[in-house]
Symmetry: C2
Subunit: 400 residues, 2 copies
């Protein structure tokens, strides 16, 4: 095995906790850790999951985790049983998650999806771990609060989302003044070529077929509507401390350029790769070293071409909503995100149409207004809950 | 004017000498210096040109250079007269160029084309200046010797060629082990789509029409034959201390991606831009800061697409010759370059055909063999002279 394959030549294993280990980020993280030398390179302090107890217990045994946590209080017994005889500690429930996040580790993979990831990730940030961030809410809903906790802890923030990881790879933080803009690429999803009228008629099944990445139903629909890209815009603003007008989106159907940074000398730097999330995960786990990974290499002659087109904010209104949220500040990120979750469910249940999702979110943002910039997690929970309630009312009103 | 526009906030002007100031690199360098604050940012120790005395004298007066040198001994009087009353020192001839290069400056722009650039650039390197390198022969013909002089002087080597500058911008020299390959982009020139038979019939006039960059006749033909790219491959090997097999070439007709670096985690990092050499010049002049330049910014929606195809080494044999030169080492770089100069002249004079250029260069490389790695400039001059003589003989033999 060549030098560079292992991350810890002559050093102790890096300690890590993986939150959301049974999800796709978590499974890929464990795979990357295996490739980087497994137990020789990383010691696993804690892993967490929710309903898939069998997989969680198997992962915990395989990677010799010290602790396994299910977010679901009612599954404590099941997890305890599944781990019996292994010597691995079992715990359950939201407060057990936060407690696990407060354990002293070098690095935390924050892979829990949704608002449930907020409290443990904020706790890990405050504790001082490097955060490999795959949870959107920490930045979209809690951007300034999350930064405050990172500053308190002193760890490094390393984005795992392919777009933000790409930007991180080519963002010169020693020369912030020379960064003019970042350019987030978007595949455009399955409806890139549809007319506005056609988009009104779209069904959940059609929205779920994403052309480049193999994803779940909700994330596929968020990708098709570009709500996903809207959240990424807000995340990017917080991650890289940019002004809203510095954040551009370009449709790039092949998803080979993962994102770009434009500089004051006319240079644009880009990170490219095959759609394999292990590159970004490896980068975050071993930063500032770059690991060796068995990821398929790009072959430009086979690619043959890369295409670009301007996004249409009429057909993809979430991009416009993201600008409103970035410019308005306050709780608008949390409101957009909370309302989006509810309209997404309603679309999946075919209670509202595809374009109604953005209409309702905009109405909720309008009605609630930005409010104060959140300084504690409770105020974010409140904004999220209010946004969900308002969105529910709007959906009900349309159903009448 | 915003912070970042000037390079020397609170510092003394950076002293610089510009060799080849009347050529296209030199003129663009003076333009960049104007944009970066002119005399407030840079003090010009010396500039040099050859036959265009009027322009050289005008530049010297405009930029308040301390010294102006013409490489042509016989033009000393003309230059002296043109500078009369200015207080600017005049000098002429190759040894005056070397003497100018030995003056103590922070940075030297090495913009002299051809073998004539070798001695002054080696002298400046030994003296310890940062070298903004636009001369190919320093690396192609004198790679290891040039590196030795750079090491002696301790200056930084900053490539100005758009491809190598692109690689420099995304090459992580702290993690050399993680660099798997570099990918030089090539426009493919005007004959990208021609058959082998059609290429045999190509005329100098057709070869001179380069699609993306506005260039002179010789460089246009070198671009059309890909001898230019062959030299860049050898340069890249020396610049970035790579193995021959780590250097790839991809045809990219739009010339927007200037080149790329492939890493061990699957990431490919790229620098993109409009075809404006001021970006690379500004980067080299102000490194490690990035300047603000009035270069046209990329608009990806307008670009619409970027294409790639594998280069065909049968139709573009110089790429194969570059590999032979890289693998063979010794004097093969100098031999390839010297023979190439002669066959290029012969093609322009329509004494040989387009594809005969590479055939003759290969014959010369075969006949002469690699020889010893050069340790002094005289041995490089010798190899260059012998290669030119051999090439001349081959051309004459074909004419019979």
């Amino acid at each position: 095995m060549s030098i560079g394959t292992h991350v810890n030549i002559n050093t102790a294993p890096r300690s890590i906790s993986i939150f959301g280990s049974t999800g796709s980020i978590g499974c890929n993280t464990l795979d990357v850790i295996d490739h980087l030398g497994g137990r020789d390179a990383f010691s696993i302090a804690a892993i967490s999951g929710r309903g898939n107890i069998d997989l969680l217990a198997k992962q915990a045994r395989d990677c010799e985790a010290a602790l396994a946590v299910t977010a679901d209080d009612s599954r404590y017994r099941d997890l305890k049983d599944a781990l019996s005889g292994s010597g691995i500690e079992a715990a359950a429930g939201p407060s057990a998650l936060v407690e696990a996040a407060e354990r002293d580790v070098d690095c935390v993979m924050a892979g829990i999806v949704g608002m449930a990831g907020l409290a443990p990730t904020l706790a890990a940030a405050r504790r001082g771990a490097d955060i490999a961030l795959a949870n959107k809410e920490c930045l979209v809903s809690a951007g300034s609060l999350f930064h405050r906790e990172m500053d308190t802890g002193g760890g490094r923030l390393l984005p795992v989302d392919s777009e933000h990881n790409a930007i991180q790879q080519v963002f010169d933080s020693n020369q912030r003044d020379s960064v003019e803009r970042i350019i987030l690429t978007a595949s455009g999803g399955p409806f890139r070529g549809l007319s506005l009228d056609e988009m009104r008629q779209v069904t959940p099944a059609r929205a779920a077929a994403h052309p480049n990445w193999d994803m779940g139903l909700k994330i596929s629909i968020d990708s098709a509507s570009m709500f996903n890209k809207a959240l990424e815009m807000i995340e990017a603003m917080h991650l890289f401390a940019l002004r809203p007008e510095q954040i551009e989106v370009i449709i790039h159907p092949q998803s080979i350029i993962h994102s770009m940074v434009g500089y004051s000398d006319g240079s644009v730097l880009a990170q490219l790769g095959t759609p394999d999330m292990r590159t970004a995960i490896g980068y975050a786990l071993t930063y500032p070293r770059r690991p060796h990974l068995p990821v398929e290499r790009l072959n430009f002659a086979e690619l043959a071409r890369l295409d670009f087109e301007a996004p249409d904010e009429t057909r993809f209104p979430p991009l416009r909503l993201a600008r409103l949220a970035m410019e308005g500040g306050g709780q608008l990120g949390a409101i957009l995100n909370g309302a989006k979750e509810v309209v997404l469910e309603a679309f999946i249940e075919e209670r509202i149409g595809f374009l109604e999702m953005a209409e309702i979110v905009e109405t909720v943002m309008d009605r609630m207004g930005p409010g104060e910039t959140p300084t504690d997690i409770q105020s974010i929970y409140d904004a999220d809950r209010d946004a969900r309630r308002h969105a529910g009312e709007q959906i009900a009103a349309r159903a009448r």
